[in-house]
Structure formats: structure tokens, C-alpha cells
Symmetry: C2
Subunit: 547 residues, 2 copies
């Protein structure tokens, strides 16, 4: 370690650990009367938000919650949840954002694994917890979250309803200082195999993520996503990587926030219209559902900027959005990365093109945001060239990456190798530092010494007029290492043969887009392609079936 | 200390200390071809900047510079200086930005006190150092900074000229990680008495200051000072609190930067015009000089945003600027605070007013920026009401305040009391959290149990048609504690008596603006008001003379 010069502070100087409570100062200071809206139900001001956070801290403390305890939340996207984002970490406790889409068994697993002390649960999820309550080991109390005037009766050990508890609690709480490396939040990420794994983020990490977000989503005139005059509505759930961390940034800036509750497409579109929402983040599936509504046809969406993540933003979706006036951008990150790593980066000259012609820029994974170091590396960990061709695994350094998996240090060691977080994604890097994600590393097909992107190949096969869908996996091959094997579904009434698809792909070999060994020797024409519970192609199952 | 939950990282996880080298990643990544301009002399790209920083690091290391060493710089505002802002801290050394306006004796004092190892010095300042070189104790080498093709000959122990050293040095340097609390920069602040005092800032502090700057100067549509499409030209010197930290933020964002060299008003205006500068920061005196040039009359300044600090932005200057199309904003901070504490905060509705009518908002000290906690307190340290009336000393908490004075811990203890940095400024706080600075605490007049602002009183006296200038100090008074005593200069050919001024002030008593004990019983009509070397009224000298 270099012998740098470190000077002691004055004895009574303030060390200023980075704490989430500091993110709550500037928004109410700038915009005390700014609104926070709960769907078409209610609204309140930033001044109210602050008071409610103080009341929630008192209510939890009155209920015996201590620093270091873990409080689970099962709610839709609500201002209540925003209050939990602040109050729970601010008293020194850990916020566990429960993925309400998990199976009841998995929810129990995560609650027991996280050692939750208190669970705050919306009426809609009471039946789930009542059904498994004997298996929940560490939870002492439940707090009910209700959109109705009175709380439902429940067999859970309930302290009462949230609003009633807040009304009873004191309006002033003295939030303490503590170590900035204290854990603020935890949640579980699911793969196709094994139990959910717990990631965790400290106060310091969330503060830095928030500050860097304004350096990336606010400061660029080409991507003016998050500005003081923005109106923000999340459309990825708050249990999903803190709604990508945007509620913290929006609150720090004092901008108007609209929380939609449940994700009902017609409701979402109505809220867009009513509140003139300018910024959302969204996964492609939900965007497709919103775009399929009748009411979207009469909406002016020319000022709606949407950050797309979770899965790839396709050219088709981006173009269809552009025709409705929607500006879409790709964000890249994952549960382990808090999540922000990179965002679409347009140049001023890109904006002079019609929206449709900007698509090829917008569907790329963008450029790493400030403070983030992204690299693509070969299996030995050596960087591969940034020529837009060579592929490598995406590895990251940033001040806000989960430092391990909770109580599974051996999996943490796998995630972190050589001081870099390994994302498991394969990408190329263009000479202008734009990242282009190609595949999951476990789905990439290693053939003839090259990495072949299963996603690229699926896209090319899908361009055949008879094809409805395609899935490609690698199967072992003595000569080539692996060879691609495709599953194809055809459009109703259409027909195609192995040779038809092969000669379709041969055109891309001739144009130099793929190598000739990328053409699958085997194609199964099937009725359905196996999918996971969240609608992704289940390539592990396909590989298993092909064995 | 609260028992929060702190989890260990995976053994090979990256701890990611906050280091200045991280501020150099995103700008070149976003805008490798963006320009950095040196007046009307030369320009280069961000890609060049990175290479030159690597070369400078090698040149310094080749010259024997080690982590923990201190490198002083005496230069005008140049891209060279920007390179020093990065390369010197990035190798683990301390950058000492020398105030070239100090007397030679004071410069020697600061160099000896900081224990400088190497001094980088512009040709223009060689004579100063040659004249005092035997008194400079710790400096081993000098590096010459020249705008001419060949270096001047000198009696100093010179390693040669900067450009020649860079040309010889390697183009790749492996910048190490080290403790984020390592000191990155130091410089000296001067008062009216005593020796200059050294403040110091760590890597962590400068990174956080930079990130928060985008959260305040970029994210607000009402104060769009620093955006990716901005063109930035500093007009407060780089030795003065790192040009308020803006070069770090501008570089992080990859925006065009124009360094003017010397502050010659005509040159500054020419650069404004040629490069369509959109953002500068400036002290009132230099702004007045620029506004007095002939060439400014033909400049389109409607997109020039200027942050004014150092001394108060007066209504007159702000109005005169507005008539030229210039948008001025007040920034508040000091050497001890890195410096950013608060900035003018306009509301959307303020922007609907004509520029002239926005003045009363723009001349206030604004609202604390994100992560900053500002309070006004009475002499016992208790907060006073935020009613726009009550006055108190401004105290601050923020993650980027000097933690003490270098080698003068007892002065650091005075600066820090009760965990708050005491600014020595007296202000009121309006109900909307806007800070309004009233006076320096040592200049405020404590009369009849109230704090009377000497600045306010000077402004009122100056409104008398015969008055050219005024200075007011408190003098001891048995009954009132202190009473105001005024020094007044009259305009050429004008006359006024004690009674004239008193009856002029009586109008403000009648309108409730001041109390009747604010009317000075004694006024000295003088030829000149004593000023300090930097042009501020020397109230200490006036008080001494009145004793």
C-alpha cells in the first residue's frame, strides 16, 4: 500500500459517514410542497413524507425494532414502500424487499434465510403468509398494509395496520449516525437452479449509487431522464433492486413521484396521461402490455422517457415505441450491482436523426456510468479487444456492488474473482466504449474456438418468414467442442424444413455476419419452447432434454 | 454507537476506495474527442488529456516523487494545471495550489509550512521564487511551466520544462489504489491577521464534492449550469479552492473546457464569444471588469450562466448582467468547505419572470446542495428560527469540509465546535430554506441585544445620493453594548452632514427596515476607506484606528 499522507481530523470534527438519511435532506428543502402520488387514491407532499418517515421510525421502535434487525416488506409500488426505503435503514435496521412473485415456499425460504424480525404485508399477500406461517421461523410481528379503511382480520401475529400505527406514533425521531458500511437493504435473486441468493447493500453504497445516478441520468442533455422538472413513475417493482434505485434519487432531487400500486396496464397508461409522467423504467414485457392498451393510442407520449432493462430491448419494441413517441433507452445492471452499470449514451448528432433511426443506438447497452469500471475478459481474466467483434465476459468494479451473498461466502467468492464482479454476461465492446450484451455466459455456444451468441442466432432464425420463435443451445460435439442446436416454432399455417432454415442462415454467412459453423446441423420443430416462470427461455431445461 | 449489521466482503471483492482517478474514467469514455482549450494558444482532446496525465505521473515519479510528497504548482489557469489536478493526487502525492497573489514572504511561508518537495512554476513567477530561494527550506526540485518554445534560464534547481519532461516520460502509468482518506490537495487561506492557514482535502472528499456538484449544478432545470452540452471556462483561479471544484466535475462529465490563462478582461470576453461559453464562475470584481470591456457589447451572452461567489452578488451587478443577457447565480462556500455549500435555487415560476425581476432571488445565497446540512445558530450553538428575520452564525456539516488546519490543530478545534464547522458568517434563513448572508460574525454589530448587519447598514447609507462608499463597524458602548460607527466617502462635488445621513436612515426606521439604534451616532467623512490587499473593506484596521 502506498504511503500516502493521511491527516487526523480536529477532535470535534464531524466524520460524516454516508447515510441514507442524508438523501432525505435536499428534496424536502427544495420542494416541500412537491407531490407524491399514490395511483388514483391519494397524494401528499414532501413535507408529509418526512413526517411520515419519522412516524414510521417511531412506530417500529415502539414495536421493539432495534438497529441490526431485519424488516421485510411485501407491498405493491406505493408511497408506503418509499417510506420504508428510508425509515427502516435510517433507524439502523435492514430493509428486506420481498419478491412477491416467488412461490410461497421460496418466500418462506428467503424470510428464514434473511432472519426477518418483522414483516410488513399488504392485504393481498396475507393468504400466502397465513398458509405458511408455521414454517416462518424468526418473525416476531407482522404489520398490515391496507388500502382499505380497516385492516383485515388475520391469524398472523399482527401489530395492526400501518396507518393506525403511524397515527399513534410520535412525529419526531432523532435518526442516529452509525458506520456507513452498515447494511441498509437485502433481497434475493433467483436463478434457474438452487435456492434464491441474498444480495445486500450498505448505506455508503446506496448513497454513492444515488449520487452517481444524477451524474448519469440528469447531467446529459442527450439522456435527460431525471431532472428537477421530471415526473417519475416506476414500472419495475420496488422489490426489484429498489426500483433500480430511482426512488432514492428522485427523493434527493425533490421531484414529483407517482406510485402506481399494482401493474395494471390500463391504470398505468391512465396515470401516465393524468400526471404527464416524463420518466419511467420498465422491463420489455410490461412495456409491451402497456403498448397493447386501447388508451395508449390517445396519449401524448412525446415527453415520456423510459429506461428499459431486465431483458434486452429489441429493435421491434424500440421502433414500436418510437412510433408512439416514446423515447426508450437501455440500462444495464443486475441484482448484484445495485443495479446501475451502463446506460444508452447518445451523441448530440444522434438526436438529429428521426427517433426511428436512433434505434440501433438505443438498443445497445450503452456506456458505463461515472465511477463504474466495466471490462470484457476471456476465461483467463485477460481483457479482450474493444473492437466491437471480440467477445468476453462482462466484469465490473464500482462502489455499489454486493460484496458477497448473505451467509453463502463460497458463492460470493465465485461472484468475485481477481477483484472484479463477474456478471455472467458475454458482450463485445465497441471502439467508442459502447457495451453490446450478446448472451449469458452459460448459454453462449463455444464452437470452433469462437464464442457464438445464442441470442444473435435466435434473432437471425426469427427473421425467416415462417418462424414464430426460436431457441438455440450448444450441444457437445467432438470436433467443434459444441455445435448449435435449434428449437423452432412456426407461425400458424406456415411450414419450413431444416434446409429452408439453413439456406436462410447461409445468406448471413455470405454477408459475413456469422461463420458457417454457426448454422445448426439439427433443428427440432416444436409446438412450444420451454420457458421459465418469468417468461425467459429455459435453456437449462432444453439442454437437459437434449442430453 | 447503534449495533447495526455489517457484513464482510468476499475475500477477493474489490473494496473500491473513492479516488480521484475514478473521476477521470467517464469523461474520456463518453467524449474522447471533446476539446480542452488553452486560451487562443492550443487545444487537445480528452484522449490527449488522459495520455498527458499518465506522462506527468511518470515524469514526477522519474524525478523521485513518492506517495506522500507534496508538489506545489504556481500557474495561471491552464490545461497543464488540470493535468496536475489529476496526476499529482493520483500518484498518492499532495497537490499544493499556491496562491500566486500572496506576497513573496507569504508564498515562502506556505511552501515551508506545507513542506513542498517539488515546485512547478510558470515563467511569470520565476523572479519571485529566485528572489527568495534561499528561504525555501524543503523544496528539492523545480519544474518550469512555459508558454514559450524554450524554457527560461533560472538559478533555481530546475529539472527542465514541463513539455520536455512529458515528452520524455512513458505514456502509461499504473495508478495504484490507496486509502480514500489520503490527502489529495492543500492550499492556504488568508485572513486579515496572522499567517495563512493550510486547509486540506482527501480523495474521498473531492470525489463526493464532485458527485454532489452534478446533483446540484446539473440536475435542476432552473439552474442548468453544468450539463454535457455546456462549455465551461473558469474565471476564478485554479489555485482558489480548485476553481471551486468545477474542473473535476467538468472532466467527469466530458464537457468542453476553455482555460483562459491570465485573467485579461478583453481576452476573457473574446474566449466567451469564440467558444460560446455557457458556464463560468467568477468573483464580482472580475465580472465588473469583463462587463466594462468594449467587446462585451457585441457578445451574445444569453446562454452564459455565471456562478458568483467570493463576495456578495449585489443587486446592481446582477441587474447590469441581466441587461446584457447574463444569468447570474450566487454560490456560497469558503476555502474550508471545498467549497460548495449552497447555490441560488430558482423555482419554475421564478423563470417566468423577466430576468431583471429574478434578481432578488439570484442575489440570495440559495439553498444548501444535496448532502449538505446548513444551520444558523446563536452564540450558545442553539438553532435560531428560520423566519427570514432571526440571525445566527452559519454552521455546516457536509462530507467535504476540511477536517482541521494543517499543523495547527488548535485552530482546527476553533473551526469545529460541537461537530459543526463554524463559517464565521452571520445569516438569516427564510422559511423556504433560502440562506441570506448578512455579515462576517466579527463585523456584525451587537447592539441593544440584537445583531445588526454592518453590510445592510452600508447598503442603506450608500443609497443616499451624495454617498460614494460606506463602511460601518461596531464600537463599544456602555449602554448598548456596541453602537455603529460609520466611515463615509462622498461623491466628487457632493456634500452631506451627519444629520443628512441620519435623517436618510430614519426613513428606514419608519418603514420598519431597521431599528432606531441602527442609526450611527458618529459618522466620519473620509477621503478613502481602508481596504485589504484583495480589495475588501479592512474593518479590523478601522476598529483599531477608532480605538
Amino acid at each position: 500500500m502506498a504511503q500516502t499522507r493521511i491527516l487526523p481530523p480536529a477532535d470535534n470534527a464531524h466524520q460524516y459517514p454516508l447515510l441514507i438519511k442524508q438523501l432525505l435532506m435536499s428534496g424536502p428543502r427544495y420542494s416541500p410542497d412537491q407531490e407524491i402520488v399514490y395511483a388514483n387514491r391519494s397524494k401528499y407532499t414532501y413535507t408529509d413524507l418526512v413526517e411520515r418517515i419519522h412516524r414510521l421510525a417511531n412506530a417500529l421502535t415502539d414495536a421493539g425494532v432495534k438497529p441490526g434487525d431485519t424488516i421485510a416488506v411485501m407491498d405493491w409500488d406505493t408511497p408506503r414502500y418509499l417510506e420504508c426505503f428510508f425509515a427502516i435503514p435510517m433507524i439502523g435496521a435492514v430493509l428486506h424487499t420481498v419478491n412477491v412473485r416467488l412461490s410461497p415456499d421460496q418466500i418462506v425460504y428467503t424470510m428464514n434465510h434473511a432472519e426477518d424480525d418483522v414483516v410488513m404485508v399488504h392485504d393481498d399477500f396475507l393468504p400466502i403468509l397465513e398458509g405458511v406461517k408455521d414454517e416462518i421461523k424468526t418473525v416476531k410481528h407482522y404489520i398490515q398494509l391496507s388500502d382499505e379503511p380497516s385492516a383485515k382480520s388475520t391469524s398472523l401475529n399482527s401489530l395492526g395496520e400501518y396507518e393506525a400505527l403511524l397515527a399513534k406514533a410520535g412525529a419526531q425521531f432523532d435518526f442516529p449516525d452509525f458506520d456507513e458500511n452498515s447494511i441498509a437493504t437485502t433481497f434475493y435473486t433467483t436463478g434457474t437452479t438452487g435456492n434464491p441468493k441474498g444480495v445486500f447493500f450498505s448505506h455508503r453504497q446506496l448513497v454513492l449509487h444515488t449520487l452517481a445516478m444524477t451524474g448519469s441520468l440528469s447531467a446529459y442533455d442527450e439522456i435527460p431522464l431525471l431532472r428537477s422538472s421530471s415526473v417519475y413513475m416506476p414500472v419495475t417493482p420496488m422489490f426489484h433492486v429498489h426500483a433500480w434505485g430511482v426512488p432514492y434519487a428522485a427523493t434527493m432531487m425533490g421531484i414529483k413521484q407517482v406510485y402506481p400500486g399494482r401493474y395494471e396496464p390500463e391504470l398505468l397508461v391512465d396515470l401516465l396521461k393524468e400526471h404527464k409522467v416524463t420518466f419511467s423504467h420498465c422491463v420489455p414485457t410490461v412495456m409491451q402490455m402497456m403498448m397493447a392498451t386501447e388508451s395508449i393510442k390517445t396519449a401524448d407520449l412525446s415527453n415520456w422517457h423510459v429506461l428499459i432493462g431486465g431483458s434486452a430491448l429489441t429493435r421491434g419494441l424500440c421502433d414500436a415505441g418510437a412510433r408512439l413517441g416514446i423515447s426508450m433507452y437501455t440500462g444495464y445492471g443486475m441484482s448484484e450491482t445495485c443495479p446501475l452499470l451502463s446506460v444508452t449514451h447518445l451523441k448530440p448528432e444522434d438526436l438529429e436523426l428521426p427517433l426511428e433511426q436512433q434505434t440501433s443506438k438505443r438498443i445497445k447497452t450503452g456506456i458505463a456510468v461515472p465511477m463504474v469500471n466495466l471490462e470484457i475478459v476471456d476465461p483467463e481474466g485477460n481483457p479482450v479487444p474493444h473492437d466491437g467483434e471480440a467477445k468476453g465476459e462482462v466484469v465490473a468494479r464500482a462502489p455499489w456492488l454486493t460484496q458477497s451473498y448473505f451467509k453463502e461466502p463460497e458463492k460470493g467468492e465465485e461472484l468475485w474473482q481477481g477483484g472484479w464482479l463477474h456478471t455472467g454476461d458475454v458482450a463485445s465492446m465497441e471502439p467508442d466504449n459502447t457495451l453490446v450484451i450478446k448472451d449469458r455466459i452459460k448459454d453462449v455456444i463455444k464452437t470452433g474456438g469462437e464464442w457464438l451468441s445464442s441470442l444473435d442466432l435466435e434473432n437471425l432464425i426469427s427473421q425467416h418468414p415462417a418462424v414464430a420463435g426460436a431457441a438455440v443451445v450448444g450441444v457437445p460435439d467432438e470436433k467443434w467442442g459444441e455445435r448449435p442446436h435449434a428449437l423452432v416454432t412456426l407461425k400458424p399455417g406456415e411450414e419450413a424444413s431444416l434446409e429452408d432454415i439453413q439456406s436462410h442462415l447461409k445468406k448471413f454467412v455470405d454477408s459475413g455476419e456469422i461463420n458457417k459453423w454457426a448454422i445448426p446441423g439439427q433443428i427440432d420443430f416444436v409446438e412450444d419452447i420451454p420457458k421459465t416462470s418469468v417468461g425467459k427461455i429455459n435453456k437449462k431445461l432444453i439442454r437437459d432434454q437434449l442430453k
